[in-house]
């Protein structure tokens, strides 16, 4: 529990849109440079992950991830009202899965064609 409580505005929606892994991101800001809507701002502290200033303007195109040369540094977070219904069922077993579930199945590692 934090002792100091600030007056902060309500969270923007979607809350995050983009997630950074601070252990992988080296703060090169290449994603900041190419984001079409300037969702991302450079961190005032050099080498740190960018700040997600305008998650509400994210187009969810994933270009920041395509541009990033450190795989795993950035991941996309779809707004919950969109992702919560992305679900699938295994044909043979009838098992049901959904994007964001607590215990997801192992990833399918097959890359796109080409």
């Amino acid at each position: 529990m934090e002792r100091k409580v600030y007056m902060v505005p309500n969270p923007p929606t979607p809350n995050n849109a983009i997630e950074f892994d601070a252990g992988v991101c080296n703060g090169c800001n290449q994603c900041v440079e190419i984001c079409r809507t300037d969702v991302l701002m450079p961190n005032p502290e050099k080498g740190k992950t960018p700040i997600v200033l305008y998650p509400d303007e994210c187009w969810h195109c994933g270009c920041c991830i395509q541009e990033c040369n450190r795989p795993g540094a950035i991941s996309m977070v779809h707004p919950l009202n969109q992702s919560v219904v992305v679900s699938w069922k295994r044909r043979q077993t009838g098992e049901e899965f959904r994007l964001g579930m607590r215990n997801p199945p192992p990833p399918n590692t097959r890359p796109p064609s080409g």
Partner: protein, 659 residues
């Protein structure tokens, strides 16, 4: 610690804006050809103009390397009529599109697209884009030509739509532009066109722009200017709470508004389509059998498969038949051309009475797309190739779903659970239309066989032209207009900027910075404008509702919009966009008033003139501003085949296209 609310709760000072603030500073840029918009059409226009040896500058609100509606990728390339496997000529394809559009379409744009779509794709291949199955992954598939290794979609017999590996098309175009020496001005939104003597209707000699990171004012002087700003969005609905926009968030019709103010002529601005807007789902991330997912088997909750039917109501017995025309059908146009589906051009569909069958309990919701029922190559083509490369699907769908464990070989992807009527269309991810939430139709600039507007010095490409098509049409028309704009430079006069026009625009552009921050901000204003559009320019329109809508927009300009505040250069850009959106809305309303008849082809319903497409209204009704007043004229559908033009497409192309 990357979200803003986390950052500011760590006892750090609120950071200053990270970019230098240059409000009021001017930079002047002189170029031969000025391209407004760095999306697909703008990049091809820039590359092809530069290849003619003239200087070229591109102005882009986002970042050219990835921006634009086609910036996140492309998976199918339409109207490639001249590819070596095509069974359809550009003339026939154009004829089919024009017929299916009821005539309400742009002949020169369509024909140029058909003639140059394939050549433009070859340009992209030379830049490094993969357009063939070089790894032989699909060897032997029905949709592959084993000699050229080209892959096709929809109609495997006629082979005009190609499946391509286009996830990186934009960085490749960007690299080519840099290599050729195109000057790129990223983070600059255009705010106005400059005209000879500052007069409406005279020659266009450049544009003004605002840097949305620094607030700097830019003045571009050019001998030829190309509007390549795509299709307007955020006009009828706007909600960052629920969902982003369908097209590039930056696309609000800047090019449309500035060309209108300069006196350019527009057609088809009364057209719109129904849209589920903020209630739709992640594009292509839900079970469906439309577009990229065309041909996917749909099953119900118990695993019962929904049958497919041809245009004559005959049930298809095999999967292979889904990709072949019906008996007696010349060709299936495929999906994505933004042309109404009709008996002649339609693809096959799921049981047309599916909503009724769901009501009767024959099919139990939820439905699923079961790719595992397809042959391996068809399955891999849909999910591995197309979803892996389509705009906004590589990361948002392919990577997101596979990382979460989805395996198309084993798993069935659920479709949205919706009212039964919503399953009439196969495009399930688009949800169910909210009738008065519209999406932009085919409205845009009227052009001649040079893709030039009625204003000297002003050209257009892609979505900025009325009746535009898809990614490949944007690319092909950009390719064409780049050559034409470059050629015009030889005889164009030196641009002389009217300082008064610049000063007036500069004063207008910075008003939101001077307002009290207690006033309304851009997001609330955007949503407010949309409300006017929903109510007064929605599914049903009439003279009274439209006139009332125009009055409301005018009042809004004089009240809330005039007091709009901006705190940063970014917000200033968004604030100016609101003025753009109001202008675009006004044009749509004026165009709707001008057409005193409903139209099936335009999705246009006038309550006071309910008869659809009566003979006397089967024509275009172009509108423009002359000395500040709206002037409506008449233009026959085949204007491009009447004097002074030649009577057929090929001859006009020969006269205008081959330089």
């Amino acid at each position: 610690m990357v979200a803003w609310h986390e950052y500011i709760q760590k006892d750090v000072p609120i950071p200053e804006w990270p970019y230098p603030i240059r409000y009021g500073h001017e930079t002047e840029v002189k170029t031969d050809v000025l391209i407004l918009g760095g999306g697909i059409s703008g990049c091809h226009a820039a590359i092809n103009a530069r290849r003619q040896g003239v200087s070229v500058a591109v102005v882009e609100k986002g970042a050219t390397k990835w921006s634009g509606s086609g910036g996140a990728g492309v998976d199918h390339w339409i109207a490639a009529c001249t590819n070596p496997c095509s069974e359809v000529t550009p003339e026939e394809y154009t004829y089919v599109v024009m017929r299916s559009s009821g005539g309400y379409d742009c002949g020169p744009l369509r024909y140029v697209s058909c003639r140059e779509s394939w050549d433009t794709l070859l340009d992209c291949e030379r830049m490094g884009l993969q357009i063939r199955d070089v790894d032989n992954e699909f060897k032997g598939a029905d949709f592959r030509d084993d000699r050229t290794k080209l892959l096709f979609a929809y109609d495997y017999k006629n082979r005009t739509t190609l499946r391509v590996y286009g996830h990186n098309v934009k960085p490749l175009l960007y690299r080519e532009m840099k290599r050729l020496g195109v000057e790129i001005y990223d983070r600059v939104m255009v705010t106005s066109l400059l005209t000879d003597g500052g007069r409406q209707g005279s020659r266009v000699i450049g544009a003004t722009g605002l840097n949305v990171r620094t607030g700097e004012f830019l003045i571009f002087k050019a001998k030829a200017t190309v509007i390549a700003t795509g299709l307007p969005g955020r006009i009828w609905w706007f909600s960052t709470e629920l969902r982003s926009s369908f097209r590039d968030f930056n696309n609000v019709g800047d090019g449309c508004a500035i060309a209108w103010n300069a006196g350019a002529e527009f057609a088809k601005m009364e057209q719109s389509f129904g849209d589920s807007g903020a209630l739709s789902y992640i594009e292509y991330a839900m079970g469906n059998s439309h577009n990229t997912w065309y041909g996917a088997p749909i099953v119900d909750a118990r695993g019962k498969e929904v049958p497919w039917f041809d245009r004559d109501g005959k049930e298809l017995e095999t999967i292979a038949e889904r990709f072949q025309p019906s008996p007696g059908q010349r060709l299936m146009l495929g999906l994505g051309e933004r042309v109404p589906s009709d008996y002649e051009n339609q693809v096959h569909s799921l049981a047309p009475d599916l909503p009724e069958r769901i009501r009767k309990g024959e099919y139990v919701l939820p439905l699923y797309a079961d790719l595992s029922r397809l042959p391996e190559q068809e399955r891999r083509a849909i999910f591995g190739l197309m979803v892996g490369n389509e705009g906004k699907t590589r990361i948002p769908v392919y990577v997101t779903l596979t990382r979460a464990g989805f395996d198309p070989d084993k798993d069935m992807l659920q479709a949205p659970v919706m009212p039964p009527e919503a399953y009439q269309s196969m495009n399930y991810w688009a949800g169910m239309d909210v009738p008065h939430w519209r999406i932009w139709g085919g409205g845009g600039l009227v052009v001649n066989w040079d893709l030039k507007t009625n204003l000297d010095g002003l050209y257009a490409a892609g979505g900025a032209i009325f009746g535009s098509g898809a990614h490949s049409s944007a690319a092909a028309s950009g390719r064409f207009v780049g050559r034409k704009a470059a050629a015009s430079v030889r005889t164009a006069p030196e641009p002389v900027v009217d300082r008064g026009q610049v000063e007036r625009e500069k004063a207008r552009a910075y008003i939101p910075l001077k307002q009290n921050k207690h006033n309304i901000g851009w997001k609330e204003l955007n949503a407010g404008i949309c409300r006017i559009m929903q109510d007064h320019c929605g599914q049903f329109r009439s003279e009274q509702t439209l006139k009332a809508g125009l009055r409301l927009l005018k009042e809004l300009r004089e009240s809330e919009a005039s007091m709009l505040y901006a705190s940063t250069p970014h917000e200033l850009g968004r604030a100016l966009e609101c003025h753009t959106i109001m202008t675009v809305g006004e044009i749509a309303m004026q165009a709707s008033l001008a057409r005193r008849a409903s139209s099936m082809f335009l999705n246009f319903a006038r309550l006071d003139y309910p008869t659809e497409d009566p003979p006397e209204w089967q024509r275009l009704t172009p509108i423009k501003l002359v000395e500040g007043r709206v002037v409506v004229s008449e233009l026959p559908f085949n204007y491009h085949l009447l004097a002074p033009y030649a009577p057929d497409y090929q001859e006009n192309y020969r006269l205008h296209g081959d330089l």
